[in-house]
């Protein structure tokens, strides 16, 4: 019980207190603790990554062996991973290497396209979101339209009212981003900050223990 449950909780408490106190102590020893932790964290991370890679290969290999639906796609995934590893081992990883070329012309291109694909889906989402069913939905609709218009040159052209010394769409868009949007983001950030603070304290004090697992 002590080795399986109490000792991990003691380690969390000691490390939590040491690292929190270290922040406030301007001494060489404190800096050494911080730098050593960074090195140790990276080394532990190396083995954590092994766990992740093992899990990745296991999922796909099991799928292939069991001939589960879509196992052919798992073959593609594993083959692509092996090709990348061979490219890195045989040709290096510098600019212009096969490793970089394969990445740029497949993965990078696919990722950019997938994100651009969202431009189409976000339009249908916009239709659902922008139906002005309440006055607050109208505020959302107006803010979105003004910000969108403010990001493109047409925003300035349609701002005919600037002749009467009123702010252009671009200026209003910038104000929305800098003021009400900033206020909303800051309220959310403060809420998240307070939540993180409480979670950190719960971890250090051993109230939050889900990371220990079920046993």
């Amino acid at each position: 019980m002590f080795w399986k449950k109490q000792l991990p909780l003691i380690i969390v408490f000691v490390m939590g207190v040491v690292m929190a106190v270290q922040y406030f102590v301007p001494h060489q020893a404190s800096e050494w603790v911080y730098n050593t932790y960074l090195k140790w964290g990276i080394t532990i991370g190396i083995f954590g990554a092994v766990l992740g890679y093992f899990s990745f290969f296991r999922v796909h290999v099991v799928k292939i062996v069991k001939k589960a639906p879509g196992w052919g796609y798992s073959v593609i995934t594993i083959v692509c991973t092996i090709i990348m590893l061979l490219a890195a081992a045989l040709d290096g990883m510098g600019t212009g290497s096969y490793y970089m070329k394969i990445y740029l012309y497949t993965s990078a291109a696919i990722n950019a396209t997938v994100f651009s694909l969202l431009a189409f889906y976000i339009s249908s989402a916009a239709y659902r979101a922008f139906r002005a069913r309440s006055t607050q939905a109208v505020a959302l609709l107006l803010a979105a339209i003004i910000v969108m218009l403010g990001r493109v040159p047409i925003g300035n052209y349609v701002s005919f009212w600037t002749a009467f010394h009123l702010p252009s769409i671009n200026a209003i868009s910038q104000w929305i981003l800098n003021v009400p949007n900033m206020a909303a983001k800051r309220a959310i950030a403060l809420g998240v900050g307070l939540g993180s603070l409480l979670m950190t304290l719960k971890l250090i004090l051993g109230i939050e223990r889900t990371y220990l697992g079920s046993e």
């Binding site: 050593t36 140790w40 593609i76 291109a109 696919i110 651009s116 959302l140 909303a184 990371y211």
Partner: protein, 210 residues
């Protein structure tokens, strides 16, 4: 117009079109592109991890200056303990590595969260409110927005009466904030789409665009 003969550009073009076939419906071309990006991304990450982290941060320091870096053996043992997760009988040993990382991470995060997410946000909110355009048009509105937004997220008291009224103002600010974020995201996605169209027109078809 000068159509490219570079096979790499054709590969990228093929995958670009494969992804766009999803607009019609989920199909095998899209699935191939999806799995290629996962496989290539994983290969990219493993090679990078091996070269920069395993060799660069662990093996070379131990090999070149063992006397000063022998302490790296301790986290390496802890790391090995983490790998015991795959053997159910010994999985409990991974708790030490996790406890070390979580404890240190929480300790490091504690003062930094207070500093960055609370104190700095508060000091940026509590700015002079005076009868100038900036004082009223920016500082006052930000103050009202942050306060009402925080009250909206405060669920320990029922949103009735004055609290309910202030929380309602908070909803307005949040709606405008979400609208602005949505508009900004739409424009970012459109910009990516324009980038892919330009890739097809310029890099694949060789069109000269001003």
């Amino acid at each position: 117009m000068h159509i490219t003969t570079d096979p790499w550009v054709w590969v990228a073009f093929f995958f670009t079109l494969s992804v766009y076939t999803f607009l019609w419906k989920d199909n095998f071309l899209y699935k191939i592109a999806e799995h290629v990006t996962v496989g290539v991304g994983m290969g990219f990450a493993i090679a990078l991890w091996w070269q920069q982290t395993v060799i660069g941060q662990f093996w070379i320091p131990l090999k070149t200056d063992f006397a000063h870096n022998f302490h790296l053996i301790v986290p390496a043992i802890m790391g090995l303990m983490m790998v015991t997760r795959v053997i159910p009988r010994f999985a409990w040993m991974s708790r030490y590595a996790l406890a070390f990382t979580i404890g240190a991470g929480a300790g490091l995060g504690l003062p930094r969260v207070i500093q960055a997410s609370i104190l700095q946000q508060l000091s940026a909110t509590l700015l002079p409110i005076n009868f100038t355009a900036h004082g009223l048009g920016y500082n006052l509105i930000i103050f009202i927005g942050v306060l009402s937004g925080l009250i909206y997220f405060f669920f320990s008291k029922e949103h009735k009466g004055v609290i309910g009224g202030i929380a309602n103002i908070g909803i307005w600010f949040l709606m405008v904030g979400f609208g602005a974020t949505f508009g900004y995201t739409v424009m970012a996605r459109l910009s990516l789409f324009i980038g892919r169209v330009l890739f097809i027109l310029k890099d694949v078809l060789g069109m000269q665009l001003s």
